[in-house]
Symmetry: C2
Subunit: 204 residues, 2 copies
DNA sequence: TACTGTACATACCGGTTTGTATAGTCGGCG
DNA sequence: CGCCGACTATACAAACCGGTATGTACAGTA
């Protein structure tokens, strides 16, 4: 058995164990590729218990996305803590992603992956995914504002594209390089070098 | 019946019909979410015929990726034809992606989506996906060279991140805006404004 | 005429999917 | 003590998965 059938004193309860294994498997193998049977087995729990806690597989998927979002921001705040200037925070942002690749279990953005797998557009998971991405954009806009950009929203939008693109390419090549390139490009777009111009002449 | 059982005179053969429907369904609904039964039905063909032509579902997936790659480059060449300068070609690149969203059936990059769904790292599809992405990078590097960049490879890498990120975000929001932002950022990174400097001061 | 290639129809294989029904076991608490 | 909530074990349903076996119909060709 992978886990004790009966909750060890002080150990995590069934619901926590289920959510933890589901979160891991959904990210590592994909949502569709992971069956509820496997999740139940791996968490040392019966399917009945799983359904008593989460109602359906979709319910478990939603719980997984919520939990992942929380974990993401917790880890992220840790990376950004102690950054004084806006540029430092921008660097930390890319560095956070970079270290994520090094952690080993990197398989791209779990939210983007989920949104691809969740074909039904009305799936409640999509709202969580949108919120997550909007949160990142918002965070970047704060950095742009603090950096004195004239158009912070625009800068944030461009940085987020670099971040997102680097995540996609890093996932394909299993490399940290894309984040180095993305960081360099982002800093070059940072208007510190060209104050009041958002990084350069206005072109479209 | 969706299609005539027997090949109409001059119409596409069974293999072509199978590949066409499979390609459409794999992209629109996802690979795992599309069963061979559905593909056979939709193309007006029996499963036996499908297996006679493609051997297995994986074989069909590979054929789909190959076909999609060919179609992609064909359409792409059309967009780039008639562009004189390097900047025009760069603009056309983003414009091609933009018009793709407008076409209606946009659901992100089919190759990135496939690579997420094809969990097994040894799946032959991954090689096709890598080739596709490398082809784009190569195309961008050509543009960067023609534009007189000192480090064309670097510029190409950055542009591709913008392109890839815009595709991901556009897929989430079903909007053409990401490509506008990406194009603007790419042009700002273009060294035309700062010849010999690859778009600005060297920062890292 | 005889053969070959292509596609047909039908039925089946073992396995997996999500989800449920039923009955039993255990620990803690009033 | 009795009860309740959390959990287990087993079994099942109904659909679907990729893939195969058997046999037939028809067009073209040597």
């Amino acid at each position: 058995m992978a886990a004790p059938k009966r909750r060890a004193e002080g150990g995590p309860g069934a619901a926590d164990r289920i959510l933890a294994t589901a979160s891991a498997l959904f990210y590592e193998r994909g949502i569709r590729a992971t069956g509820v049977n496997t999740i139940a087995e791996q968490s040392g729990v019966t399917k009945v218990t799983l359904y008593a806690h989460f109602g359906s597989k979709d319910g478990l998927v939603v719980a997984h996305l919520r939990a992942r979002n929380q974990r993401w921001w917790a880890e992220f705040d840790g990376h950004l803590a102690g950054c004084a200037t806006a540029e430092e925070r921008l660097r930390a942002m890319f560095e956070a992603y970079r270290s994520w690749v090094l952690a080993g279990d990197f398989r791209g953005c779990g939210f983007v992956n989920a949104s691809i797998e969740l074909t039904a557009p009305e799936h409640p998971g999509h709202a969580i995914i949108s919120d997550h991405k909007e949160g990142i954009r918002c965070c970047l806009e704060g950095i742009a504002t603090d950096a004195g950009c004239r158009h912070p929203a625009k800068a944030a939008e461009e940085w987020r594209l670099l971040l997102e693109g680097a995540t996609a390419i890093a996932s394909l090549r299993h490399s940290t390089e894309p984040f180095d390139h993305a960081r360099q490009a982002a800093l070059r777009l940072l208007p510190t070098a060209h104050p009041g111009l958002d990084g350069g002449p206005e072109r479209s």
